[in-house]
Amino acid sequence: MKKLNIKLIPLFIASIAILSCEEDFDNDIQDGGVYTAGEADFSKYVTVGNSLTAGYADGSLYLNGQLNSYPNIIAGQMQFAGGGEFNQPLVNDNTGGMLANGVQILPNRLVLASDGMGAPAGPARYTGAAPTTDIINKVTGPLNNFGVPGARVFHLAAPGYGSLSGVNTGTANPYYARFSSSETSTVIGDATAANATFFTLWIGNNDILGYATSGGAGVDNNELNIVDPAMQGENSITNNLVFGGVYQQLVAGLMANGAKGALVNIPDVTSIPYFTTVPPNPIPLDGPTAAFVNSNYAQYNGGLQLAAANGLITATEAAQRTINFSAGQNFVVMVDNDLTDISGSPIPLPNWRQTTSNDLIVFTAAGVLGTLADPSNPASVIGVGVPLTNQQVLTTTEQARVTNAQQSYNATIEALAAANGLAYVDARASLSQVATTGVPFNGGLLTSTYATGGGFSLDGVHPTARGYAFTANVIIDAINAQYGATLPKVDIGAYSTIQLSDTVQ
């Protein structure tokens, strides 16, 4: 028996030894220490901005969009390096839409409908379930995400922007009204009160975007030199000085408690499919039709020569306004308010010209281009016999105003980042890469092509979840570089793009 025991002992020890070999990874990412925060402190991350920060997509704010907002994605990665809870003012459902006292005030989300035969038809409003988020049910509890769809830079510092009663009268923002701390609070005040240790700020997009998406319907406050933040009207370009002044105030507020952070700059409007989906020359004509259309414009073209001869317009402008169709793809006829207005002159001609390859036709014009303005009149083809409106085209003149403001904003943002030791995120460069060459990822190429490119949601302006994930990675890169952190990026291929559904209007 003693002999037996001696033989069994080594076996017993061997079994124990084998079983005690560590079964965890050599470098287990759940153990902590694999990723580091560097000089930053991610324990309380607060983010301020507009629809992009809120996770708005597909023309609506809906639950899964918010869950895939770039701040929520970043916060998830920060949890590997000391990040804490991240609370967002989540809506109730994936229908999108918004109610005020039971009455719907904002539309449902867009989905991609099919033609019923297995081919895609186009974007449509989802009707599978009624919206259930009512702004009168205020969000309570601590928040980290202060993204307010529609906000311009000065809105963030405007008292009463989250007033419930102000929503009815059009002076307040329904998204902010859902979670504002009071009828007179400001977004930046609420965000500052959250006591961030780390913040991101991405604001200024709407300060040019409203002007751009409306095809330059508003004014340029830089040209008009309007420097009162309260006087920056709807669809206008925010004055550069107003932008700089308020932006500085926002940064100062967020840094008041010694927080570190990242400032994100403003992308080009030409990076978004809203302006790049419709080509400037979308009208195919054969020779005889082109000749017929030209004959209808002979009188207008002749009038231009007369106006030039009389000094009402220059010869250059006369040439610019001359309308000429030919066999093949044609530029469309449009109204351009920046042309010399001679409608009240003895030669009363409308402000018409054909688009050039540098004009940007807005996405919403796609639905009307080539259709008949008057169904009984075959000559009333929109873009040919009937011009596109000024609002349907962002002209090169209008683009120059947008670019001027954008460059000024970005200079402000970059300077403030440098002056305060904050990370500067060049979203402009990154999104430009998406729009031009595309960005390869594990499983494809992220582009800004409408619906199929993966980067942009069906409203043509806001990213998809995958686009937001890409944005999150760009911001993470900048944070890591600035603060010596090692936050992991996310696999953008795992994030969804557009939603298919035939449950539509």
């Binding site: 965890d24 639950l63 190429l445 969804s496 939603q499 298919l500 559904s501």
Partner: protein, 416 residues
């Protein structure tokens, strides 16, 4: 000091790479305890599985053995680039066996074996980062093998018999990395089939030149399990003619249970028996898992397995009249090739350490116990053959895997 040395040595051994598709080597408690050797070991009716030529060598007229195992396995996954991680929560596998042999004459014996040599039970968290490859898989196969064995010459016996395989499969995975219904629920496909039957055979030869030395050869044929009557359930697809409709449809698929050749020797020296087996499993039969659904959808999943080997060592020591102790080791080479590492069978090469004992309750009845600890080296691998619908670029699923398995079994042996 010695303890530490043993610990270090064993941990080093296990840093060899790692294991074997969906084959589960648990066909005998006695033999599992010896590293699952057995093609040249005549211990009990269990030899019917290891080498049908061996049953004529059993001393008693009637031999019955039966037993079962609990398979406790765990796989961890992580991807350091993206900070993703998951761990399986697989149900306990329960392979079983039953063998009975009857010696008709001194040189002729018959037998029947029922055993479960294939199976897989892997359950990942639903919607985990590899859910487009697998959420959950359950494979099972019961083999029923009637067997004849004949002593051809003094030193040579042969044996064999047909195998009826009865298989079942349940496999659940998401339709793609991102497709969801309107509520954001991931679109999902589940296939289910049971009671699939297929035929194969096993044949063996045993060479016993003297009382001490035994050589055995066994071959088990390929069995193709063809599923044609099962159901595929599509769920949480959006309401759209751009995607398959929700609901049930049929499917066809073929899963090969590969042929296996085993050659081994044993040597008996007083109370000690040493055994060595070499297995070659013809896994190269498993090229691709192709699913064709009744609704016209297809799913082609390249596997490209390679033939793989297992080297087994076992020892048995008759300590007292009542107590026999056993120990063993094996190295199991994975049939999965680099780039084809799918999380449904996340197996790399493994080292198996086994131990067990038998206690003779009465001259006729013994109780057999065994344990197996399967050690897998941490491995960073990928499955490179998945593409999102419409994408020309594949989306490799890569990460680091760490697997472990612990198996404990109990059985009885009865002879008269």
């Amino acid at each position: 000091m010695n303890k530490i040395k043993v610990f270090v040595v064993l941990c080093l051994i296990s840093t060899f790479a790692y294991a074997g598709g969906y084959r589960v080597s648990t066909q005998s408690n006695k033999q599992l305890a010896m590293g699952h050797t057995g093609v040249a070991v005549v211990n009990s009716a269990d030899v019917l599985f290891f080498n049908p030529a061996g049953i004529v060598h059993l001393e008693n007229k009637l031999n019955i053995s039966a037993g079962g195992f609990g398979v406790f396995s765990d796989v961890k996954f992580q991807n350091e680039d993206f900070g993703t991680f998951s761990e399986t929560d697989s149900p306990t596998g329960t392979p079983v066996y039953l063998y009975a042999t009857y010696k008709v004459t001194e040189d002729f014996a018959v037998g029947l074996g029922v055993y479960t040599p294939y199976g897989s039970n892997v359950t990942w968290p639903t919607d985990w980062s590899g859910s487009h490859l697998v959420n959950e898989i359950e494979l099972s196969a019961i083999f029923i093998q009637p067997t004849l064995s004949y002593q051809l010459f003094d030193s040579v016996s042969i044996g064999g018999g047909p195998i009826l395989a009865i298989g079942g499969v349940n496999f659940n995975r998401n339709a793609s990395r991102t497709l969801t219904d309107e509520e954001g629920d991931r679109s999902n496909i589940e296939i289910d089939d049971t009671g699939i039957t297929a035929w194969g055979w096993s044949a063996g030869l045993m060479f016993t030149p003297d009382d001490r030395f035994t050589l055995g050869i066994n071959y088990r044929s390929l069995i193709d399990v063809e599923s044609t009557e099962g159901t595929a359930t599509f769920s949480d697809f959006p309401t759209s003619t751009l995607t398959p409709a929700n609901g049930e449809t049929g499917f066809t698929a073929t899963l090969p249970l590969p042929a296996e050749l085993t050659v081994g020797v044993s040597y008996k020296w007083d109370k000690l028996l040493l055994a060595f087996d070499y297995n070659r499993a013809m896994w190269s039969e498993y090229n691709s898992l192709d699913l064709e659904f009744g609704n016209g959808a297809t799913s082609i999943n390249p596997r490209n397995y390679k033939d793989s080997s297992t080297w087994r060592l076992g020892a048995q020591y008759t300590a007292t009249e009542k107590l026999t102790v056993r120990a063993g080791y094996y190295f199991d080479e994975s049939p999965v090739q680099s780039g084809y590492f799918a999380p449904e069978t996340p197996r790399n090469d493994s080292n198996g350490y086994t131990f067990g004992l038998s206690y003779q309750v009465s001259p006729k009845l013994s109780i057999d116990g065994s344990i197996l600890y399967l050690k897998f080296k941490e491995i960073t691998e990928s499955y490179d053959f998945f593409s999102d619908t419409g994408s020309p670029v594949p989306a490799p699923f890569e990460g680091t895997y760490k697997s472990s398995a612990f198996i404990a079994g109990l059985g009885i042996t009865y002879s008269m």
